[in-house]
């Protein structure tokens, strides 16, 4: 739907005034007017109270227990199973999205058929739907008394299903604009020189899509490992079977065990941070090339 939801990093690195771009500065310039300075100060106070301080509280709480704390938390078989389930299912779903997401983007851009606009709108539904409603919705078709006889609820398949639902738009929406911008002259030139369709796809189209697919995949993986709402009703949260990391964190919180919750949460924060950094690097590389 938009950059806002697909999560491409905002690039504000450009200079604020034209003359700034010419010379390379070692120290950042300060062009704040007094009014803007006050605005920045107020915004930073709110941002610190809302985001920075709470996130550092997690890190501080987790660090207070030292490495042994992490060891104890991750040693717990139930927690370790949750971590394994979350990571494998997120990888599986990301893989599915890489293939199906690219196909959907392709169909939306290069094909023309009746109902295409509708398909384009439906892709956004998982972004717009509240996560708990997403779980409820999937229970209808894949839950008990399923109209198609696929009773996946409360099995590990339910986790795959829920994650696939909530991450559907990521790759579609990152690949689609790139595919739209792609110059078809090169493809025609390749075709006129005798390249077969698979060759053209592999050698010409795919290389330009790879960065978009990669950033979409990173986003969908990050979303999948942190997912909670859609799993609550659908997966049944059965320990060692369908329990994911977020659910583990929540049950630590509910038991008042904030230190364990913080330790596990900081692992998730670290992975999220890693994904952001990798994504930033990928996008910077692409921006340089473009």
């Amino acid at each position: 739907m938009s950059a806002a939801l697909t999560g491409a990093t905002i690039d504000t690195a450009g200079p604020a005034s034209p003359q700034g771009g010419r010379t390379r500065r070692t120290t950042p310039r300060n062009t704040l007017t007094p009014g803007a300075g006050v605005g920045l100060g107020l915004a930073m106070i709110w941002f610190s109270l809302l985001v920075l301080l709470p996130l550092s509280a997690i890190v501080a709480r987790a660090a207070s227990g030292g490495w042994s704390q992490y060891y104890t938390v991750l040693q717990n078989p139930q927690t370790w199973n949750a971590v394994q389930l979350t990571v494998t299912q997120s990888l599986v779903v990301t893989l599915i999205n890489v293939v199906v997401g690219t196909v959907i983007a392709w169909v939306l851009v290069r094909d023309r058929f009746w109902g295409q606009r509708l398909l384009n709108v439906i892709i956004d539904v998982p972004f717009a739907l509240p996560t708990v409603v997403a779980g409820l919705v999937l229970l209808g078709l894949y839950g008990p008394n399923s109209p198609i006889g696929v009773e996946w609820a409360f099995t590990p398949n339910a986790v795959t299903l829920a994650l696939a639902f909530v991450t559907l738009p990521f790759i579609v929406r990152t690949v689609q604009p790139v595919l739209e911008e792609l110059d078809t002259d090169v493809e025609q030139a390749a075709a006129s020189l005798g390249a077969s369709r698979p060759t053209i796809f592999r050698r010409i189209i795919l290389p330009s899509l790879v960065p978009a697919i990669a950033s979409g995949a990173a986003l969908s993986f990050a979303r999948a490992i942190s997912e909670y709402g859609s799993l609550v009703l659908l997966s049944g949260n059965r320990p060692n079977q369908t329990e994911v990391v977020s659910v583990r964190v929540l049950s630590f919180i509910e038991n008042g065990n904030y230190s364990s919750a913080a330790a596990l949460a900081s692992v998730m924060l670290f992975i999220a941070l890693l994904v952001i950094v990798v994504l930033d690097i990928v996008q910077r590389r692409v921006a340089r090339r473009g």
Binding site: A16, N30, F47, V107, F113, V132, P147
Partner: protein, 269 residues
């Protein structure tokens, strides 16, 4: 453009349409059908239940508060990031993206650690002054603000960058002061991006579940939001009610999607 062969074309179409149909379209359709299975009774029953009504009212209140806060904060930060240079700008522009990749449950935990009344960093002090954040409405607003924080910024920053600051400079050189320039030059040109960001934030705020669940003690009629009451109703086997509330939430989100779809072309003009 290289045309794909007909069998390939149909196969790709079938994969795309089939996947989306089974994963999204059919399940959502089923939800709507089940909501209206007994005519309007599910909806009317839910809307006459005082707990459901107060949950919907609370969601509305929290969402509006969070959207307003994010609107002011988002436009301010966007202006600062695009129009000014200052040390730490790069870090700030990376940090405002963080909320998008933090798990909702972790968001809740983070807020609980700082603002809980028992041993929170700031919570104990606030509690002494009679302000409770966690298990109360302020906590719900903060959790919602957190998760929806980057949405306005992400819409406004690209538009601000694109329009440049020539008109603003012209206005300034003609004697307009900063507020005048903002209200009469800048705001009208980023209007649609702002509206779009607000609609997205609203949809996100109304639908937030995980973060809200952690900071709420889920008391019906007090701190139970609409998404929390969907879960509660379903688990209490009041499925008709769960479907009805879910349906109302879906309607809000579909309405936002439609608004966004209608606004989108205008943004590109």
């Amino acid at each position: 453009m290289v045309s794909t062969s007909t069998p390939t074309k149909w196969a790709l179409r079938a994969v795309a349409v089939g996947y989306v149909f089974f994963l999204v379209a059919w399940p959502v359709g089923l939800l709507i059908r089940r909501t209206f299975e007994g005519g309007l009774t599910n909806l009317t029953d839910a809307l006459t239940d005082s707990n459901v009504v107060s949950a919907l009212a609370l969601t509305g209140k929290v969402a509006v508060a969070a959207v307003l806060i994010n609107l002011v904060f988002g436009v301010t930060i966007s202006m600062l990031l695009v129009r000014y240079d200052f040390p730490g700008k790069r870090v700030l522009s990376a940090l405002v993206d963080v909320p998008l990749s933090v798990s909702p449950v972790v968001v809740g935990l983070a807020l609980v650690l700082v603002y809980n009344g028992r041993d929170g960093w700031l919570g104990t002090g606030l509690e002494d002054n009679g302000i409770s954040v966690i298990f109360a409405t302020p906590g719900l607003v903060m959790a919602t603000c957190f998760v929806a924080l980057p949405l306005v910024i992400r819409e406004v920053v690209p538009v601000l960058t694109e329009i440049g600051d020539e008109q603003e400079q012209a206005a300034r050189s003609l004697g307009a002061n900063a507020p005048q320039t903002f209200w009469r030059i800048t705001l009208p040109s980023i209007k649609w991006a702002v509206v779009y960001g607000v609609v997205l934030s609203l949809a996100r705020s109304v639908g937030e579940f995980g973060a809200v669940k952690v900071v709420s003690d889920n008391v019906a009629g007090k701190t139970q939001t609409a998404t929390l009451s969907v879960e509660k109703s379903y688990q209490n086997f009041a499925q008709g009610e769960a479907y009805a509330i879910a349906f109302l939430l879906v309607m809000v989100c579909v309405a936002s999607l439609i608004v966004v779809a209608l606004l989108r072309p205008k943004v590109h003009d």
